[in-house]
Point group: C2
Chain length 456, copies 2
């Protein structure tokens, strides 16, 4: 009888747990162990800001599955509070430190999945390690932030960084009654993702809800008060009262273990994998926030941290680890963000990205009703489409509106995946009834304007 | 100088007005006349049931544009209350009856658009013409139904037909305080569109809200009371109190004029057109509910009455009438229906249609959260996907749920248009954030189950 394969998974959040579960389903005999350097596994990082804001009420609901469930229902062993210290790809072992009891173990593997995720970029400005200044990446971060608010330790919050986490935290801290100031170094919010015109709509909503937004402004320093915790933030040469500092200056892939094991790191700084999610070392896979992927529109190496992508890559890695032949071809850079009472989403290339990628671009921005304008609850949605003039190929979309942003972005993401040319999109047969859409729908109205601007 | 082309449009609802406007935009010199046998143009038929229910409050909001607006802003002449009596394709004239003042005119044309729409099927059961028994197709129908309810002439309504109009009317009449009984001859609601399993979900919602649903039941007769208006409906051998009868047994394309002019009628009973929306007679176009189209999945002639399709076809016809070269390749049979507090939608082929079309089909039905299950407002959505086992090609979808049905259906419609194979759909990069979606999303979970059932 063949000895069962031993699968070791480093990292127990989205990609790691998904891959382990999939490998178990496809190979009931495999010996599977997940190593987590945290006291839990399988938590939903995307819900943290809403937990702080009280929108998500129960802390337990942030855990998708318990370690016991993995053990009892899936026969997957979980080593909590254990940190992988090094990978030996020759011996096929991982050296693991027991963070709770001390000591190290050396675990052998036949297949290894690196799912070490990403870590927040913490700038090195003075005071960034003061009590009361936090990134938001783990449940522990969320616990600490909630604790500081619950104890009344913060009336004013300063957020460094106008990306996803920064904007989500602005909303949720405002909901908790704090005054919120947000510093963004670039000249517009979400600078890597949105063109300035769509970003201006986002900023207007954030400011209308009462957040002080300072773009082109660099956070310089945090100072502490008499209790030793943060009391003042300095930015753009001015001082701001600050009982809570949030560092939301982005995340980077966590690849040190892989790099030290001489596994190839790609140009984005994440671990290079093939479409089967296998790294440069045979038998070693990577998935989730630590892994590089391909942008399906630009066809270039791409990296973006997202729980949904981690789940999909984990599934593919798990299937292939169990002997399957599944592929993950890449992503579109799709994302969506709640912005108080509005939403904003994007997929594919922005106008700037398309221009940088050398496309002869044409863009069209339309504003339509979300649903029949005469039907109760109708609102407005603005959609910017970007296309290539020569090939009539759609390249990307950005949307902002009261509602239906997720629908419009998902529809465009599906169109990009299918490579549907712009003229065909103007005839797309989408679901129409007044409570759900306008007769043509936002995507078609946008495609019609694109067509017109292309002179078709 | 070339004489301007004369365009005559028969029909002033969606396709006719859209085509006229598009032709005007593309050819400022054209002489354009719309003939309408009603006292108005450009009304939104899809809003009628909601106007009766009081959800849409203002009658004026059902008119997209006024005749004056067409005349003054677009230089389009409108002949209201004029009915086209015959088309002479040899002389290129249309004989028109003046319904208000009597008499007939003969109007010459260089280009003709037939946009005569559809008409309700009225069964010939006794009593169907009694006062208080109405189809719902025009504003006049809606006015008459509202009037009867407003005067207190109806406490119980009987609806004949469990399709779109029947279910929309059930909801809106219940909202107006009527007891509602619905008769459907087939064994399930929406029989032509939904498989029995998804239809059962729809029925459960309709019944839970208080509608008495009788499937497999044929309406036999309406009887009048002492005031000469309807008082009783007989169906399946039983009598039902009935102060208002709604005939919702479907619609058929209105093609008599075209048929008499020897313009080719297709196998669906609608006017055959090519992809430019031109009929068998050169210079004569047809668009909207009177025109046949192609089903993009089955590739067979197809007919379905829908305002959104009429708008798109009208746009293509108008562009081509003005000398353009645009095509309308077909539809997916996409539709969506509000079912009280739920929604149901479909696109592509149902399991029955796919089976009849000879596909080696595999279907998968999944139920997921609409959004992050821990996020406020989350609900359930059920999605049934149908695919072809051999080619791994997706064929269609049916959905029912609390929310996000429009998104899921539009996403699948875009995937069908792009021909994205099932394995690629399992990796689709859709917009994820807990307020809008689950990490994988309903479509991907469905595609994963399809893949599994295909043994991929």
């Amino acid at each position: 009888m063949k000895r069962p394969l031993r699968l070791l998974v480093i990292g127990g959040v989205a990609a790691g747990t998904k891959a382990a579960s999939k490998a178990r389903r496809d190979d009931p005999a495999m010996e599977i162990t997940i190593i987590s350097d945290m006291p839990y596994v399988s938590f939903i990082g995307c819900g943290l800001a809403y937990y702080i804001g009280g929108v998500v009420e129960r802390r337990e609901s942030l855990f998708a599955r318990s370690p016991e469930k993995f053990r009892d229902e899936h026969n997957i062993a979980i080593l909590l509070n254990h940190r992988a210290e090094s990978i030996n790809t020759y011996d096929q072992t991982v050296r693991v430190a027991d963070l709770k009891n001390g000591g190290t173990l050396t675990l052998p593997y036949d297949r290894l999945l690196i799912a070490t995720g990403a870590h927040p970029v913490i700038s090195d400005i003075p005071g960034v390690t003061l009590p009361g200044v936090h990134p938001l990446h783990t449940i522990m971060d969320a616990d600490a932030i909630r604790d500081r608010i619950d104890r009344g330790g913060a009336r004013q919050a300063c957020i460094v960084g106008g990306g996803f986490i920064g904007i989500e935290m602005a909303e949720n801290l405002l909901r908790r009654g704090l005054e919120v100031t947000l510093f963004e170094m670039a000249d517009h919010l979400l600078p890597g993702l949105y063109d300035p015109d769509v970003s201006a709509l986002i900023r207007a909503e954030v400011e209308a809800k009462g957040v002080r937004v300072l773009t082109g402004t660099r956070a310089e320093r945090f100072d502490s008060g008499p209790d030793g915790t943060v009391r003042t933030a300095f930015a753009g040469g001015r001082a701001y009262p600050c009982g809570l500092g949030i560092i939301a200056t982005g995340v980077r892939p966590t690849v040190q273990l892989a790099r030290e094991a001489r596994i190839t790191i790609g140009p984005t700084g994440a671990i290079r994998v093939d479409s089967r999610m296998e790294t440069s070392v045979r038998g070693v896979y990577a998935a989730g926030d630590c892994a590089e992927t391909t942008h399906l529109v630009s066809r270039k190496p791409f990296w973006f941290s997202l729980g949904s992508t981690a789940n999909k890559q984990g599934r593919i890695a798990g299937a292939n680890i169990a002997g399957g032949r599944k592929t993950f071809d890449g992503v579109l850079g799709t994302s969506i963000l709640k912005v108080f009472d509005k939403a904003t989403g994007r997929t594919g290339l922005s106008e700037r990205e398309a221009s940088e990628a050398g496309f002869n671009l044409v863009s069209a921005t339309v504003t339509t009703s979300t649903i029949g304008h005469y039907y109760p609850g109708s609102g407005k949605i603005t959609l910017k489409l970007v296309a290539d003039r020569g090939s009539k190929r759609l390249l990307g979309a950005q949307a902002f509106g009261d509602d239906k942003v997720d629908k419009v972005i998902d529809t465009v993401a599906a169109l990009l995946t299918g490579g549907v040319p712009v003229p065909e999109i103007t005839n797309l047969d989408l679901a129409y009834s007044p409570p759900y859409a306008t007769a043509l729908g936002t995507v078609l109205v946008g495609a019609e304007l694109l067509e017109k601007k292309m002179g078709i």
